[in-house]
């Protein structure tokens, strides 16, 4: 069934492994699928699309007509992870997020790791996301990374790698939730048959986790609000979705101002203080008085309120340094430095193009590597060597030579595949996984699974939604 055109046995398929035999987490699903009428599933897939449209689960692609709202393609075949696989992953993720938070605290305080020479100082001093104003600041509860997304790829039955850390403002969690909701509506019988772990408590956990980080100025039940750049932002759906699910207000910069030493929102009856602001705008735009003066997305003076303990900003300003892909290459050292343990989840081997020897090797092997911008995201500005034309590689070579420090390179990984449903039956496509992690003084909570992104076209390794990638529901099985 899986041996259609283009099927390359060299990739690990999560449903059929390398041998073509259905792996145990997929067994029940595969039995069910075998008995189902393909036409019925086809119909369901179309219903799902209509459901996403009427619900407005759309995103805007930057640089295109604002009226052009697109759907992220949704595939009806779930990505299934066994209980034991998940235990292993979640231990590694928890370790990593703890280390990230400790690292951020250290960088903005004594900088022990720099003094110990484990991470080169330039990676911080040249890091655009580094905020000198955060030096010596203690964010409420000691938390920097309230919400993070750790991107994971798989290359074999026992081979998992962390591909990227997203500690700034990871997005996609609304898709994780809506994908499950859609699957429950379309195939309720599957969930009766197979015990899949819940994800729907994420918004309430998010609310609890944020409320547990309330600032000293908060008296009583913390008021939480979500700060969005507005309806034209590509992730606006997610911002309104999370605010709605948490029962929190969804605010924009022009709804807020500093009143009596607190950040307050303009309600129909006057100004009400906010305790915790889950902001979905970047640091640069937070406070036009203290950061970018041309920004209209933020709140003049919020920085001073933050310093004085009048508000919690989640994630803390300055966490973006951890998203830097050059810094990523030091994560195994960072984990060891703060936890005293070896990293449970390995990094993908990474060449730092800023180092002459690394650069030489990268330039030699460009057609076989993946090259990424250090600060890039969303799959923009990257080169996938094996998939690129000679011309594209030559153009990229020039960019790389002009500004090597701006790039890292990695081997082209044999990303695992999971089948998607096509008119011609099941067909394998490459996937990655973004689990979502909440951190508060009460602990770390990881929603079972996360968002599975899938490259919808055959052979493609780029799963980003801005580049035509789709998503799948992700199942973590109960023991």
């Amino acid at each position: 069934m899986l041996r259609g055109k283009g099927w390359r046995i060299s990739f690990f398929d999560e449903m059929t492994g390398q041998e073509g035999e259905v792996r145990s987490p997929y067994r029940e699903y595969s039995d069910w699928f075998g008995r189902e009428d393909a036409a019925r599933i086809q119909r369901k897939a179309q219903q799902a699309e209509a459901f996403f449209r009427t619900t407005g689960i759309t995103f805007n692609v930057y640089g295109q007509d604002e009226a052009d709202e697109r759907l992220i393609p949704f595939d009806v075949v779930p990505r299934i992870i066994s209980a034991s696989e998940w235990r292993r992953l979640s231990r590694g993720i928890e370790q990593r997020v703890r280390a990230l938070n400790a690292f951020l605290h250290d960088i903005y305080h004594r900088q022990e790791i720099l003094r110990a020479g484990r991470v080169p100082i330039e990676l911080i001093s040249r890091n655009e996301a580094f905020l000198p104003m955060m030096m010596g600041m203690d964010p409420p509860g000691g938390i920097y990374t309230h919400i993070s997304g750790i991107d994971i790829v798989r290359t074999g039955a026992d081979e998992f790698y962390v591909l990227e850390d997203n500690a700034r403002t990871p997005s996609g969690v609304s898709y994780m939730l809506e994908n499950r909701e859609t699957m429950l509506q379309m195939f309720p019988e599957l969930f009766a048959k197979i015990s899949v772990r819940e994800v729907s408590d994420y918004p309430l956990n998010l609310l609890k986790s944020l409320a547990a980080c309330a600032p000293p100025a908060c008296g009583g039940t913390p008021t939480v609000a979500v700060l969005t750049p507005g309806i034209h932002n590509s992730a606006y759906f997610e911002h309104s979705f999370l605010a709605d699910q948490m029962g929190a207000e969804l605010v924009e910069g022009h709804d807020l101002r500093v009143v009596d030493g607190r950040v307050a929102m303009r309600t129909t009856q006057g100004y009400t203080p906010i305790d915790v602001l889950y902001r979905r705008v970047d640091d640069d735009f937070l406070d036009p008085l203290n950061f970018r003066p041309d920004s209209v997305l933020g709140v003049p003076g919020i920085w001073d309120v933050y310093r004085a303990g009048g508000i919690t900003i989640a994630n803390a300003p300055g966490t973006g340094i951890a998203d830097d892909k050059a810094l990523y290459s030091y994560m195994p050292d960072i984990i060891e430095f703060y936890t005293g343990e070896k990293a449970l989840l390995p990094n993908v081997p990474t060449w730092r193009c800023g180092e002459p020897e690394h650069l030489r090797e990268v330039l030699d092997r460009l057609p076989e590597l993946v090259v990424k911008e250090v600060h890039g995201s969303g799959g923009y500005g990257m080169l996938v060597g094996p998939a690129a034309s000679k011309k594209a590689i030559a153009a990229f070579r020039a960019k790389l030579e002009a500004n090597p420090r701006n790039y890292i390179a990695q081997p082209t990984l044999s990303l695992s595949t999971v089948p998607i449903f096509t008119k011609a039956g099941l067909a394998p496509r490459h996937v990655d996984l973004r689990p979502f992690v909440l951190m508060s003084p009460q602990g770390i909570r990881i929603t079972p699974g996360g968002l599975t992104r899938v490259a919808m076209s055959k052979g493609s390794l780029v799963v980003n939604s801005s580049q035509g990638g789709g998503t799948k529901d992700t199942w973590v099985l109960e023991d």
Binding site: G56, I231, S240, A243, E249, L250, R266, T267, T268
Partner: protein, 314 residues
């Protein structure tokens, strides 16, 4: 709730109401243009003036008031800020801004309207398809209204959206009278003489009330009665008196919930008490045109006061 959110709910409702009213105006204009081709241009112009779109139309097309041009302009021209497509988009943008205050059903109704009309109005509408398209527009607004009535909490957000609906509707009915009042005037001088049949039918059709009028007044058509029906008759859901009553209900609800009598509450009451609590004859005596002008001004002042009192903007 946030002042901005209150404002978005209010404007969403205003735009939805406007799209429905404009569909009705197009319908009435289309009928008269079909039956009286010699005065069609003048009729279309008066439709555009009523809808507040004549300025934009002349910017785009000069004085070419042909049915096809006007209908296309009013339905789907992106250069026309009040075209049905522009207005639906505005309504949907406001609904998106206030998304957290809408039920799933209410949001989906607005979003579906936008998608459905977007598909219907993608290309120029052929004349013989126009009745179907207008019917679809009315039907969509019915679905939105139903979703709101059936699922929304009766809280401050709901009251703000209702305020938007009735302010817009009162404005629309008053504008219809403002443009057509001269037709009603001469006949008042000689009570009993009937006004131009097609004209009065157009007025009543513009508010979807030509049948209701006959139920109420029988076959007799008089300027005084039409004016009374549209201005003072409280059981007619598009009359000025009905709209003002509803606005006062919504303002009263907000005053109780917030424990604060705002200036808007006072203004709303004064429209009802000072302007609409007298017989139609006295309105005519003091001048119908003056009455309508004053009403439009008071209605607009109320709208501004609501925005201020409930902090829609800073």
């Amino acid at each position: 709730m946030l002042g901005k959110t209150a404002g978005s709910l209010y404007w969403m409702a205003r735009y939805l109401e406007r799209s429905e009213n404009n569909a009705r105006l197009i319908d009435a204009g289309f009928r008269i243009a079909l039956t009286r081709s010699n005065t069609a241009a003048a009729e279309w112009r008066s439709v555009l003036v009523t809808a507040g779109q004549d300025y934009y139309f002349r910017q785009a097309h000069g004085a070419d008031y042909s049915s096809q041009r006007v209908v296309d302009f009013m339905l789907r021209d992106p250069a026309n800020p009040s075209s049905i497509m522009s207005v639906i988009k505005q309504a949907r943008d406001n609904a998106r801004t206030a998304r957290t205050y809408l039920t799933r059903e209410a949001w989906e109704a607005v979003n579906t309207s936008w998608m459905t009309l977007g598909a219907l109005l993608k290309r120029q509408v052929r004349e013989d398809d126009l009745p179907d398209v207008l019917a679809a527009i009315r039907q969509q607004s019915g679905l939105v209204r139903g979703a709101f009535a059936g699922t929304m909490l009766r809280n401050d957000g709901y009251n703000f959206s209702r305020l938007g609906t009735f302010l817009e509707r009162a404005d629309n009915t008053a504008r219809i009278l403002d443009v057509k009042y001269y037709l009603l005037l001469p006949s008042v001088a000689h009570i009993g003489s009937s006004i131009d049949n097609v004209q009065w039918e157009t007025i009543l059709r513009s508010v979807s009330a030509h049948r209701a009028y006959h139920w109420l007044y029988g076959a007799e058509i008089s300027a005084l009665k039409i004016a009374e029906f549209l201005i003072l008759y409280k059981q007619m859901p598009r009359s000025l008196a009905f709209c003002c009553d509803k606005m006062n209900d919504n303002l009263g609800w907000l005053a109780r919930a917030y424990g604060e009598e705002t200036e808007a509450v006072r203004l709303g009451a004064s429209i009802c008490n000072d302007r609409l609590s007298r017989p139609i004859a006295s309105i005519f005596d003091n001048g119908l045109h003056e009455f309508i002008t004053d009403f439009l001004r008071a209605n607009a002042a109320l709208a501004r006061q609501i925005e201020r009192d409930y902090r829609f903007v800073e």
